[in-house]
Symmetry: C2
DNA sequence: TTGCTGACTTAAGCCTGCACAAGTCAGCTA
DNA sequence: TAGCTGACTTGTGCAGGCTTAAGTCAGCAA
């Protein structure tokens, strides 16, 4: 029986039992942003929030937690702390998204969209629109050739970072080309 | 100073200070899948894992945690437990993704892709390809009109679910059409 | 009928995340 | 110089997630 909703394995990955995802990029990402407050702080940063108190108030978390999470996000390079000064005020610190942080937007939109679809009884509370065009924006999978890709049209192959660390099996049994030496390895 | 990497607010959302994201779909999603082991279990489900022990082993979590998370995911409707029987074996339970669970794939791919880009020193350990076409698949934002959308081309507007619960401000001050009656009010 | 295996459950203890409350510290304003 | 405010830090205590270790239970195989 072909398991519904699962991805096809190719190349060295094929017997799924022969490897484990020990160097999974998803796991690495979750090391950085696994908890709820991190994600919501990033959401607020996308919404333009930059001040400490605003993060705590708008996310609905306590100040100690806001301080801890903001520090982690700055340390991880997703936010920067930049001093600014309004006239007649002392210098303050603004938290802004870095390129690294801003690059998480598609993931946040995808998660939000899933909540809109499956958990929002009355529909999406807020929607993203394409500035100018005005059409609703959503996160989707697409291939480099421009096709929209459904979940059942995916296959998994070893990538450029696989040789060094992916496979947990001590010695890769067959040294065949991983299917990626050909064709557009980069991104 | 225009805040870098942030989204423009339109309509009722415009003074950001006038509302808080109290009914945010991202927050709701994170109630269901906020923790690391949930996400990794879903990853394994996408990879075709269906047996209890395989989840525990391949995700690298203990059996009690695997049992707890699998139960939560089944309760939340992301996985189903279906009995199956191989000849000469007793009946076992297979965990399979439901449509609701499978719909999280774009979000997982987006998170994985971010890890590939920012946290994988030697490149992506594994890549997704479009079956048949063979081109690399990635998660991106696109609008209903088919345009690829960058993070700086987004605006946020109230959605259909906003009237009931989004705005925490007790009374919406002006009853104007929610989306962009003005448009590009800027900041 | 006894043993084995897959699929769990139960128990005990640690570590992290969180909230609440209170304290600190810098620098403008009065 | 005294107070105020924004931006934190420190302390306390609870709740949840995690691990290891051990127990349970069903049903095929010997």
């Amino acid at each position: 029986m072909p398991p519904a909703h699962s991805v096809q394995m190719t190349g060295r990955l094929n017997p799924r039992s022969g490897w484990t995802a020990s160097a999974c990029s998803l796991a690495r990402t979750l090391e950085v942003v696994s908890n709820r407050s991190c994600m919501l702080i990033l959401r607020e940063a996308f919404y333009g929030t930059s001040r400490f108190d605003d993060f705590a108030d708008r996310v609905g978390i306590s100040e100690p937690v806001a301080a801890a999470r903001l520090r982690e996000l700055v340390d991880a390079g997703l936010l920067t702390r930049e001093p600014y000064r309004e006239p007649g005020q002392r210098t303050r610190l603004a938290y802004r998204l870095t390129d690294k942080g801003a690059d998480l937007l598609p993931a946040l939109v995808a998660l939000m969209q899933w909540g809109d679809r499956w958990l929002a009884p009355t529909g999406a509370p807020v929607v993203y629109r394409h500035h100018g065009c005005g059409a609703i924006v959503h996160a989707e999978l697409s291939c480099a050739a421009g096709h929209a890709v459904g979940g059942d049209e995916l296959e998994l192959a070893t990538g450029p970072g696989s040789r060094s660390s992916t496979a947990s099996s001590p010695a890769a049994p067959h040294a065949g080309a991983p299917h990626a030496s050909i064709h557009g390895t980069g991104r």
